[in-house]
Symmetry: D2
Subunit: 112 residues, 4 copies
């Protein structure tokens, strides 16, 4: 079992021990990803990146973990392979953002 399968197994064990799969509708998992993403963002509210990292590094770490945990749950429930969907998205992004045009610019692909 590789590393991502191992993590997914641990996450699933956590919810199964609590019999929580009954609550984990895809829509509510997507809602949960947004809520955790906002909690991560709250660590940066009114702050520069440096100030946030200096003051909130412990909580930033936990909120990133929460975003990942809910995203992995949702992916697993939908039968998605995380390595595959990330690699496919990178390939798609590489077409939208060809190196020649997108180098050194933060412009959106619609503006390149």
């Amino acid at each position: 079992m590789n590393e991502l399968e191992n993590l997914t197994a641990k996450i699933n064990q956590f919810r199964e021990e609590r019999n929580w799969r009954q609550f984990h509708k895809a829509k509510d998992l997507a809602i949960s990803v947004s809520i955790e993403a906002a909690e991560l963002l709250e660590d940066f509210q009114w702050k520069t990146s440096d100030e946030a990292i200096q003051k909130n590094s412990e909580n930033i770490k936990e909120e990133i973990a929460d975003v990942l945990i809910y995203s992995i749950m949702l992916a697993d429930d939908l039968g998605l392979d995380i390595e595959q969907i990330i690699e496919e998205k990178l390939e798609k992004n590489a077409i939208k953002y060809p190196v020649g045009k997108s180098r050194n610019t933060k412009a959106k692909y619609t503006e390149l």
Copy 2:
């Protein structure tokens, strides 16, 4: 190199080829996680979970990937090990949500 290190390396290669690290301040990566999480949520707007999955499965897949990609970038920039932060968060959650009290309930830990 294990699977997560391999994925992180591919994600980093993508941004280095475009010289994008200059734009990737932690605060903007956290903003990006929230934006992608909301795009994922949009696939479920006005729909049940089943309707969303039936209609938008392709886009749901891509938005989960985007959430993961930005989260992995941010974790990597902060020197965090993804496997470790998820395992630590699961351990912390296990204390907040002991199996005995939290089984079969969706109550928040503050209400248990």
Copy 3:
């Protein structure tokens, strides 16, 4: 002074008494709108609309107020008239969603 001007004045008085305008960069106000919107959403996490309203109506009320307060701050800082921007957006939406085509359907305008 009409009602919205009156509300804006009270909101501005609140931040001026605390000398908080120094922190209220537009980007951080936009971040704050997202954070409050997610706190509102949290009241609905794992619940139907009815369950959420029954259980969390007091907090829902406060989170809607927070979303409105930060939105009004941002609009005011950008010199926008709230009545005008809402009316203009409704006019624009009316063109994107003509009554004939959009009646009784939740399809996005790109699908009509």
Copy 4:
């Protein structure tokens, strides 16, 4: 009819002409507030406040309007008076953030 009642009436007319109230469950309106808040935030992604305002002022205006429109819909559906909930929240915030302690600091009330 005052200004906020007038705006609420126009927003309601918009959805009634399209018979959209059938889709406007409170949970989906809360989801919509989050989605629009993230679209507002996207105007600030990778940018300083000044860069965002210079480049995206037209879209920022529209996204603030969208956040307000969905928030007003939700408040109206729950029978809430917007002026009242904002004034009550300001009063509550004034207790959490007394002028003497909170002046010139961006610290959260839990840290004052």
